[in-house]
């Protein structure tokens, strides 16, 4: 088998050895239930609170405003469905964008069935929504605005701070899905001005199955399911203490290395694009590179069929992705690329490479050479 080059860090990331160690230790030593009154319970609770404080600090939030969830999807569901249900007396209108992750779009579609009215803002070819369009869509009965911090497929950053500043002067709440930004962008909930913010652990070299939702004090959110009184009654269920501990460890490592990592990732991306040019590959970047996260690049390869191209990359030991997997393992063209460039053609021929820990310039060279080779033979 060819050596593996993992360029799918936006899908998920390898866990750091320190994180694995932290989780293993937590599983071995602190197996108690954080709600138990005995010492084992107190031990677990102590770890959980430590993790919570550490994570709260990374976004300059109060630890009491952090609700642990099973990941980004649950955090988004809790924010959207929980907030909409708790505030339905105040209005039925919600604004989001057409390029959100399915973990935002699909709960909102469910809310539409419950009688809520949802506006999906379009994006232009830069991939960003505009504040003016948001203002135009805003209504007296708008209760919630949810705009992602950066896009998971293109890396395009949204003007969340500007939008939040506008929303602050209304009766609506502001949520942002920051899953793809956490660990790379300097997220400060006060500076951003958001009321809710979703985060996932496995995108930052932490464990799968853990995430959190920041909920600003005073923001009413109904829990999604009934049960015990954990997480200040916002999220029933025995807390995943090892997951939280591993999550906090990953966040700690990310925070320490953030600026260096951003510089390294930007360099990888830049190198990748110039190597593709050297290989005489005909391509265009989806979205405006200057406004993207450093770790994601989404490229359009005219005339290339993604389903075949990704398999060929896989057979060469290069792992990337495109669109989202749909039923029966087949691929669905990306709704994000379709929103940016109407028509299916570009979405069927676009591919995402996302970089992270472990990637080297040599891997990028090899990848560009393989892409050149595949395109030449097709």
């Amino acid at each position: 088998m060819a050596s593996a080059i993992y360029l799918d860090h936006a899908a998920t990331t390898p866990m750091l050895p320190e994180v694995i160690e932290t989780i293993t230790k937590s599983m071995q030593d602190s197996y108690g239930n954080a709600s138990s009154i005995h010492r084992m319970g107190r031990d677990a609770r102590k770890q959980l609170d430590k993790a919570r404080s550490m994570l709260a600090e990374t976004i300059r939030a109060d630890a009491r405003d952090i609700v642990f969830t099973s990941g980004g999807t649950e955090a988004n569901n809790l924010a959207l469905t929980g907030y909409a249900r708790a505030n339905k007396e105040n209005g039925k209108h919600i604004i989001t964008s057409a390029v959100e992750h399915h973990a935002v779009l699909h709960p909102l579609e469910k809310l539409q069935q419950e009688g809520f009215d949802v506006t999906f803002l379009p994006v232009d070819q830069t991939g960003a929504v505009s504040l003016d369009q948001l203002k135009a869509a805003f209504r007296e009965d708008t209760i919630l605005v949810s705009i992602m911090h950066s896009n998971n497929e293109t890396g395009v950053l949204q003007p969340v701070e500007d939008i939040a500043a506008f929303v602050k002067n209304t009766r609506a709440a502001m949520h942002t899905d920051a899953v793809q930004s956490y660990g790379l962008s300097n997220l400060d909930v006060e500076k951003l001005g958001v009321d809710m913010l979703s985060v996932s652990a496995h995108k930052i070299n932490g464990p799968k199955g853990t995430g959190f939702l920041y909920i600003r004090r005073g923001t009413l959110v109904d829990p999604l399911h009934a049960g015990g009184e954990q997480e200040r009654r916002k999220r029933a269920g025995t807390e995943n203490v090892p997951g939280a501990a591993g999550f906090a460890k990953a966040a700690e490592e990310k925070t320490l290395s953030r600026e260096q990592a951003a510089a390294d990732l930007s360099a990888l991306k830049k190198h990748f694009l110039s190597r593709l040019e050297e290989e005489a590959v005909s391509f265009a970047v989806n979205g405006e590179v200057s406004r993207t996260q450093p770790h994601i690049v989404n490229i359009y390869l005219p005339g290339v069929q993604m389903e075949s191209f990704l398999v060929q990359l896989d057979m060469e030991g290069i792992y990337a992705s495109s669109g989202s997997a749909c039923t029966a393992g087949s691929m669905q063209p990306s709704h994000v690329i379709e929103a940016m460039y109407p028509g299916e053609e570009r979405a069927y021929s676009s591919i995402r490479f996302s970089f992270g820990i472990g990637n080297t310039l040599e891997e990028i060279d090899k990848t560009a050479a393989v892409i050149g080779k595949i395109i030449k033979r097709s």
Partner: protein, 372 residues
């Protein structure tokens, strides 16, 4: 099996895997023979229902299980749009025209051995293998022919009659030389996850659902009358597309005498013509006109004798074929044939070799030249 100048371990074979036992065993046999095997599932149809159940998802799960057992990579490819445009649209058009389409023939021609074959080749595959019961043979001159599968009950050459020389050159049918029972035995021996899976029945996109309900959701039914050849009204029909020639079940005509059968469809007046007796004279014809003639290997331009099938699993019938340069053909039966159905394939054989086939346009009765 076609022979290329490569050792198995240097030969990449894409196996079209459906999640059934046949394609599972196909992949297993090729893996045993040392080929580099890649399993690919084709998704051609989405039948996801309200509860989220989708046949394709279940089938793909089985592909995943088998590929993991065999330790081969697997992928999926989506041809829903192509399938809709090239197969399903044809399927509806034929019913609209009062004919009985054969979507499997069209799927093999346009999807499996066209779009899917191209996909496999784009992945650097030397061959595409499927679990069809048919055999590909290359003679010393490099001529490639397609022969019947040895399991006479399973032989699928009928559905493969529209393939070309260039298509079958790149195809492997590892099950062609064995019977179904042997395939099941191999699956059991190897403990494949699909060993006990029921064979799929009917048209792939309809599956186990009620055919009438399915068709009705795409084509509006136009009820009309059931009349005899003499014009006597015997009842009403629910829509001509729901009936096939020679059909006995579901007519609901009682009374004395022999049972009633569908003789033909009068599209113009929306009448279903019925008659009594399995061997009703109106059901028999002496020759047929066909279009879309395809020769797999040798091109026939002059009239010749061979055997033919007018429907799947029918015993071979002696015929004389009069091919025309425009791709049409007149096929004269040596014995009158019952219920020759427009829209179905007529497939020609020379012994075990499948020569090719065409689409039946209409059957002809010598004395009166009745168009059915």
């Amino acid at each position: 099996m076609a022979v290329k100048q490569k050792a198995p371990e240097d030969t990449r074979v894409v196996v079209g895997m459906s999640g059934g036992v046949d394609s599972s065993v196909t992949a297993a046999l090729l893996k045993d023979q040392g080929y580099e095997v890649i399993g690919i599932f084709m998704k051609n149809w989405d039948d996801t229902d309200g509860s989220g159940f989708c046949t394709a998802t279940e089938d793909f799960d089985d592909v995943v299980k088998v590929c993991n057992q065999l330790d081969i990579p697997y992928y999926a490819v989506n041809f829903e749009k192509k399938y809709w445009d090239l197969v399903f649209t044809y399927f509806l058009d034929e019913y609209r025209a009062g004919r009985t389409p054969n979507p499997d023939v069209m799927c093999n021609k346009e999807i499996k051995f066209q779009a899917f074959l191209q996909h496999a080749l784009s992945l650097g595959a030397d061959y595409l293998a499927t679990g069809h019961y048919a055999q590909v043979e290359t003679d010393s001159d490099g001529n490639v022919t397609m022969k019947r599968g040895v399991d006479n009950n399973k032989d699928q050459t009928y559905f493969l009659n529209q393939l070309s020389q260039s298509q079958i050159e790149q195809v492997m049918f590892p099950l062609g030389g064995m019977n179904k029972q042997k395939v099941r035995e191999i699956a059991e021996e190897k403990g494949l996850a699909t060993a006990k899976k029921k064979d799929s029945t009917g048209i792939c996109f309809i599956g186990e659902r009620n055919f009438k309900d399915f068709l009705q959701s795409f084509l509006p039914a136009q009820p009309g009358s059931m009349v005899t050849v003499d014009g006597e009204v015997k009842g009403s029909h629910e829509g001509l597309m729901y009936y096939t020639l020679g059909q006995r079940q579901g007519l609901g005509i009682g009374g004395a005498g022999e049972p009633w059968f569908v003789i033909r469809k009068d599209l113009e007046n929306n009448n279903l013509i019925v008659g009594q007796g399995y061997h009703n004279d109106g059901l028999y014809s002496d020759e047929l006109e066909a279009s879309g003639l395809n020769w797999i290997n040798k091109e026939y331009t002059e009239p010749f004798d061979c055997t033919a099938k007018f429907r799947y699993r029918q015993a071979d019938q002696a015929v004389t074929v009069y091919p025309s340069a425009d791709g049409s053909a007149r096929v004269v039966f040596h014995e009158p044939q019952r219920a020759v159905t427009p829209g179905q394939s007529v497939v020609f054989y020379d012994g075990d070799i499948c020569l090719g086939g065409a689409t039946i346009e209409y059957a002809v009765k010598k004395e009166e030249s009745v168009e059915v």
